[in-house]
Structure formats: structure tokens, C-alpha cells
Amino acid sequence: MKFKNSLSRQFIFLMGTFILAFTIGAAVLLSLLHFLNSSFSEQRTELKEKERVVQAIDKDFNKAFFDARGYLALGNKNLKTSALAQEGKIRILNKKLEKLDPSKENRKLISDIDSFRHYYFDQTLPEAFGNYENGKMDLVIQTANTQATSRVNEFQHLLSNYIDTSEKKLEQNFKYLVKMQTYVQIGFIVFILGILLLLLRIIRIMLRNVGQPLSLLTKAAYDIAEGQISSPIIGSDRKDEIGLLSNAFRTMARKVQEKEEDLMAHNEELMAQQDELQAQQYELETALEIRKQNEEKLKNRNQLTNLISNSLDKQVVLDSIVHTMCKIIGADRGIIALYNDKSSASHGISKKGEEQFLIHMESGLYEKLSFEKKPFAIRRELDLAEKGFHDGILYGHDLYLPIFSSDTHISAVMVFTRYGSPFQESDLGEYMALAKNIGISLDKISLFERSEEERKRNQDILDTVKEGIQLVTIDGRILQVNDQFCEIFNEAELPLVGKPFSVWSRELAEFVEEEDFPDFLKKTVQFNDPAVKVEKAFIYRFKSNSRIIKVYSEDLYRGNEKLGTVFVHRDITKEYEVDQIKSEFVSTVSHELRTPLASILGFTELMLNRELKPERQKKYLATILSEAVRLTSLINDFLDVQRMEAGKQAYDKKYIELLPILNTVIELQKVNTSKHEIILDSCPENPMILGDKAKVEQVFTNLISNAIKYSPEGGPIKIQVHHSGGCLNVDVADKGMGIPKDAMDKLFTKFYRVDNTDQKRIGGTGLGLAIVQEIMKAHDGSVTVESEYGKGSTFTASFPAVESTADPHEQDKTASSGSGYSIMVVEDDTSLVRLIRQELKDSGFNVIAFKKASEALEYLNINTPDAIVLDILLEDAETDGWEFMKTVKKRDNLAQIPIIVSSALEEKEKGFSLGAMDYLIKPYKPSQLSRTIMQTLLKIGKVGQILVPEKEDSRT
């Protein structure tokens, strides 16, 4: 396609011409307009300037007139000078005017102004001023009236005329401009119209050259589409795009015509082929029908296989077998029954029918099937129920299908009933194949049941173990846990079984305070090399309830292969607490022991190293003694507890009166306190108990001393004795600090002491109440407590009630062993005196005690006791034990009285040489004293036959 022939070139040429014409026209008009505007404004400026200068000249003349008149009227010299000065100004302005417009008309005006200036300034004014100065006012007035004034007025008129003229000129100029502008506007409109005409012309050319032939081509294309092949008539001679297009179009039309003829031929061929295909399709459809039937069978079989492998629940599987088989077979009723456990499922058969079948299935049917090993079908008449509303004879067909287990035994039998159509021999093979599938799945189920049974048994065994057991596989998953494990970790809420290590170790760690717990788990689970030693136990504490658990890990091996890890979690909270209590006890005991030891050691050291006054020495010795007694009683407590723990504590139970015991204890305890008032409040008449007196005393001593200890602010301690519920109860109530609720359970635990660090620290070993409880248990009684924290506590010791009439005789009998003998005790330790007095009284002796030897000697002047118990180191500075003994032995009437020395001093020889019968070294048990006295009395023949109390033997 050559460019010079193309449509594009034609269009570009037309558009170029158009744009050129438009641009030139517009430029001409615009420059014309601009020229007009600029020439107008130039003229206008020039005129305005001239007018301004003329006005200035006018003004200056006016000023000269007024000043001159002013001088003439007033005679002010300044005004004269000013009037004359105006001349120079006017001359300059006139020159300027001349320069502005040198036109003829203007020159006339300039010469006018000059001539007037000459006249006024050179003639009129000098003349007038000369006259005025020469006093010829009348001449001045005359001159003014004759010519000057008229000449001035004329000139002024000339100037104003000139200004008017130039105003008019301006106006004329403006009008001319407006007129010219209007012409230009009209010219512009004409130009636009011309341009529009040109455009119209161009469009027409385009339409004729392009539009027409295109629409012809379009019509031809539609014709072709409609099958009328006709060549477009236009411009085959044209060389531009349209020409080419129409040539191409003609070629196309010809080709199309040729192709159409070809197609017609083809079409006929195709018709023949189609007939052939239709025949083939019919064949295929027949084949498809057969395939569909096969598919249906396969589907049924798949469905059956699916159903029976989907579940391991036997009943569910049996139900789905019987339903699916009925559908496959097209049976109306069916049943499946297992031989081994008689489980069954049915379709369309009543419960009763099913049971009946189960009862009779083994008689005959089993033998027949296991002999033939194949299914069989029978034809029978339908019974009335099966027939329903049908009349006449109807037949049904029963199919018996055996199911074999893997060991070729019959494991189950299926029976199906079909009304109407009989079973085909060809179908039976298919049914047998299904039965085989069923057999496999039933085998699977029974295998599963057996392994499930085993698994459950294993779990049951694990669940009976008291420790939490957790089985972890080699890859860290939890395989199994037992109940106890779930209980420890509250596992019901977080099922961990099957979870990977990262999950369960994190979840367990949540419970545990120890931060290295996951590390321990990780090490033990990942540990694979038996040669490497790994920590196999770990103790952890629960965040929530501070339970303490010890976990052991043990690797699980089969042969040399590691299968996993077993964790055993054992709750050791109790042991741990006991341990803690024990260690606390050790520290308490060491403190309790150290305090008396410190004083004993300290005072002894002072006494050995210092010269002390006798009073000080005595005081120190007394202190040492009392501390030693305190130490002894502490040690006795420990020994008591140990004996009780070992079950070696023996009790010598007798019928005893409670009141004397209570009174003795109260009296003894009163000594220990000044702040407390110990009151025996109420008491039934003469209550009796069956008990070991010393032990019962110990019970009340402990209870009352506790009451004193735990009410450090003082207050009443009330003791009440009362019967209730077949028991004799003794309440010991204080108004002290009370017991916190959380401490109540542990109160009677050995070594436990109520934590009272925030209160006054109270000493003690934590053994008192444990001893009390032990003793009360041994008396078939109990000790209980009620307490309100901060308000006080009431301890109640309950003894089994005793018929009060049954006992006094025995009491007398046992007490009578040493009755009547009077024993003198010389001892300055009051607490020891009480102890001895009590012991001797219990053994039936009468006791008279003295603190000072001198007083004892005075008593001996009148009385003669049966025996004397003598302490050596006495408060009495004048007479010590040795002196006393010497004095007594000197007196004839007293020399025969046996003296038993009871002293801390180990000077037996000195004692015996001075005539002592026996020598007891403190500390000794009071019971030992009474036995010694008995033996002594026996020796000297005072007592004929005496029963030595067996107390001592039975106690140890």
C-alpha cells in the first residue's frame, strides 16, 4: 500500500489545510485588534499630558493674579515676591508644552501664553506695583479697569477653551476606537462561519470517500452470511484501503462459495457415518446395563465391607450385617447368630423369634452346615402371619448361610427369608463370598474384644497401684496413665494420653513449682544410652496445694531395645511433713536443752571461779538444781514418748479417785504462776476412774501447764468435771490465745507445735499433747479440744465412767501397803518435797516435811518418825544434812530411826559412815524412794510382811 494513495494521506492533507487557514485568520484579526488598542491609548496619554500642563499654567497665572491683588490690597511684600516668582514657573511649563506637541495649533497657544506673560509680568505688574508704591492707587485702579482686567479675563477664557477642546478630542478618539472594535468583531464572526463551512466540506469529502463504500461492504457481508454470494459493486479501481478491502472481500466471497460446495459433499458422508454410530450405541447401552448390575453388586459388597470394618462394636456390626445382607439378597426377614457367645441381630423378626432361634440353632442346623460347608435353601409354605391378608397357598424361601472363622469352624449362621422368588444357584456363590468377608470381620472383632479385655485388665491392675503411673513411648508420647496419675494432675480436665512430649511436659510443668521439672522429664525421656547415668528421681511440689511428689523414672526395655519410659509419681507429702516436723523438733529440743544447760554450766563456772558470798552460792546452787530438774523432766518427756512409740509403756490401772489427783496437780501448778487463777469449778460427788495414777496426773499436769503457757496474759483457768454420754469428762479451759483453725488437726501430732512466731514465742518440745493423747488412749478415753483463735481453748479429757460403788475396797487394799508409818522428809527443794510427799502418800505413808534441819530437830524432840529422808545440802546455813545426822545419831531415843540420804552429792561412803541406812543420789524416781523406805523398814524388822509396790517393775 503506497502512502500517497492511502486514505491517511488524504485526511492529513485536509486537516493540515484547515488548521493553516484557521491559524492565519485568527492571527490577522488578533494583531488588528491589538494595533487599534495601542494607538488609542498612546493618543489618550498625550492629550491628557497636554491638558495637565495647560491646567498647571492656568493655576500659576491665577496664583500670580491673586498674589498681585493681595499685595495691592494689603501691601504685603511677600505676596509681591510670590506673584513675581510665578513668571519663571510659567515659562518652564510653556517650554514643556512646546516639547509635547509641536503642531501648528499648539504653537499658536504657546505664543498666546508667551505674549500674555510678557504683557502681564513685564508691563502690567511693574506698572501697577510702581504706582502702588508711589501711592497712586487711583492710577492702579484705572489701569485695572481700563485694560488689565479685561486682558486677564480674555486669557483665562482662552485657556479654558483649550482644555475643553482637548476633552472633546479625547471623546472623539474613544468613539473611533469603539467603532473599529465593532468592525473587528464582525470580521471575526465572518471568519468563524468560513471555518465552519470549510469543516463541513471536509466531512462531506470523508463521508463520500469512506462511509459509502463501507456500508456497501457491510451489506455485502450480511448477504454472504445469509448465503447470497454477491460481489460488492464499488471501486475495484480504487487504490486506497477501501479499494484493497473490496478486492479482498471479492476474493473471500469466491472462496466461500467454493468451500460451501465442499461441505455439502462432506455432509452426506457424515450422515452415513451417523447411522453406523447409532447402531454401535445401542450395543453399548446393553453392555452398560449389565455393568450397572455388576456395579450394584459391587456397591453392596463394598457397603457391607465398609459397615463391618467401620466399627469394632459387635452389636453394631451384627445389625449392619443383617440389614445390608437383607438388602443385597432382597430378603424380607433375616437373622445372624454367633455360636460362641449367642449374640445375634435380626431384621423383621420379633425378639421372641430371635430367642427361639438361638435356643434351637445348635440342634441339627449346626451339624448340617458344618458337614456340607455350603449354604442351602428350602422352599416352604408361608404361615398365616407371614401371609397377612393374602389368600391361597403362598411360598417362601429360606436361605441358610454358614459363616466360617479362620480355623474353618462355623462361627455364625445367617438365615434369610424371601417371599415369592426362589434363590438362584448362581447367586449362592456371591452370597458365600459375602459370608467370607463377614467371617473375617467377625474374627477381627473377637480378636479386638480379647485384646481389649486384656488391656482393661492391665489398666485395672495399674489403677490399683497407689502411685501415679505414666507410660511414655520412645518418641515421647503418653501411652497410658492410671487413675492415681489422673488424680494427682487432675487429668480429667486435660486428657494427656496420646499427646506429644512438648505438650504434656508443658502442661504438667504448669502444676509444678520447680522450674527444672521439664528438664528432668526431657532428660529421662530422651535418654537412650544405658551407659550414661541419668538422675532417675525428682521431687516436686504442687503450686496449688503444696503436695509433694517424688517421681521415679524407669526405662522400659524389650531385649536390648528401649520401648519407652515409666514414670512413677509417689505422693510423699506426709513423709516430707514428718521430716520437717522432726527437724523442727531437733532445733526446738536443742534450744530447750541448751537453755537449762547454759544456766547449769554458767553458774557452775561462776561458782568455781569466783569468790561468792554464801547466799549467792546458795542461790546459784538452787538455780542449778531447778534447771537440772527441768532438764530431767524434758528428758523424761522424750523417754515417755519413745516408750509410747515403741509400745513399751505399761500402765498400772487401779480404781482411783479423781478429785485428789486434780487437787494435787492444781496445787503444784499454782506455784508456777502468779497471773493465773486455777479454779476447780464444778464436780460430781467423788468421781472415780480406772487408771494409772501417775499417768493421769501427767495428763492434767500437761493440760494445765499448757493452759498457763498459752495464756501469757494470765486469766482464769477453769477445770470442770462432768458426766456425759457414759463418760467422765474433765474440761480444762483457758482464756488465752487459742488455736488457729489450720493447726487443729495436727495439734496432737508428736513434735508439732502451733506456729506462734507472731505472738509471744512459747517454749516447749511439742510432746505434751502427744503424751496426753497417748495416755488417754491407753485409758480407753480420749482428749478433744475446742478453741476459738484469740479467745482461748478448752481441752477435754474423757474417761470411761466407772460405777462409783465398785472401787473403794480395792483402793484401800492397794493403798494400805505402807499405811500408818510416818516418814520425816528434810528437803529444801519445795517441788521435790511435793513430789516425794505425793509418792510416799500414794504408798500409804504419812509424811512430815521440813525445809530446815533445825526445825526438823525441834520436831524430833517430841515425835519419833519411823524413818527419815534427808537431804544434805540445805538452805539452813547452820545445820546441813551431815550435822543433822550426827545430832540424831547422838540421841539415844532417835539413833534407831533409819535415815535415808537423798542427795545430789555422790558421797555414799561418808553417808554410810555417819549411819545412813541407804543413800539415793538425785535425781531418782520418787517410787524408788518409797521402795527403799519399805525395804529399810523390812530390814529393821518394823514391818513383818510387806508388799513392796510393784509399780516400779511394771513401769519399766
Partner: protein, 122 residues
């Protein structure tokens, strides 16, 4: 005369220490518990304070802390008596601000020597 405050809840031990020191012409003020000790320490000037470790109301440690921080008395010498003689317990006591330590049971004469040393040094 040097003045010494003795805080000890056991009356007998108090007597032992007081007798030992008073014989050597020391003036001894006695406190039965931590609270009393603190009150006396806040009222009077002492050359030495002897404290028992286990005391009612306030333990020896608490008294030391109160003297050193609450009363802001850093200069008074403190001797602690304690049955807790293990080295780590001693360390704890010295850390709390005690200057000297003596294990229970103690020898009164040794205590006297120690007190003499402390007070004279002071």
C-alpha cells in the same frame, strides 16, 4: 561506768549474765523480750547491747534491724547470743548488723572477757 543492755527471755540466763557483768562493775539494763529491748535501746545510750536470738515479740534479728535502720544507730556494738551455732546462721546474724556472736551455751567468764574486749576497744 559502762552501760550494757541485756535482752534475754530466760530469767535464769538473764540472772547469770547480769550477775557476771555487775560483779565487774558494769551497769546492766535487762529486757525480757525484743520489744522491751528496742524501747530501752531507743531511750538510753549503751556501750553494748547483748541480744538473745530467740525472743518473744521481736526476735534478736528483728531487734538488730530495728536498731540499725529505724533508730538509725549504726555505732552501738551488738553481741548476739544464739543456740544456732552453724556458720551460715552466724553469717546471717553478722549480715543483719550484729558485731559479735557467741554460741549458747556460753561460758559466763568467756562472755565477760569478750564484753571487756568490746567495751574497751570501743
Amino acid at each position: 561506768m559502762k552501760r550494757i543492755l541485756l535482752a534475754e527471755d530466760e530469767e535464769i540466763l538473764r540472772m547469770l549474765v547480769t550477775d557476771t557483768l555487775e560483779d565487774e562493775d558494769y551497769e546492766v539494763d535487762e529486757a525480757e523480750d525484743g520489744q522491751q529491748a528496742l524501747e530501752l535501746a531507743s531511750r538510753n545510750h549503751y556501750d553494748l547491747i547483748i541480744l538473745d536470738y530467740m525472743m518473744p515479740m521481736l526476735t534478736g534479728l528483728e531487734v538488730i534491724e530495728a536498731i540499725r535502720t529505724k533508730l538509725n544507730n549504726k555505732s552501738v556494738k551488738i553481741l548476739m547470743l544464739s543456740a544456732k551455732s552453724q556458720s551460715y546462721e552466724q553469717e546471717k546474724i553478722i549480715q543483719a548488723g550484729a558485731d559479735y556472736f557467741m554460741a549458747k551455751p556460753f561460758s559466763p567468764l568467756q562472755l565477760l572477757e569478750k564484753v571487756k574486749g568490746i567495751v574497751n576497744e570501743y
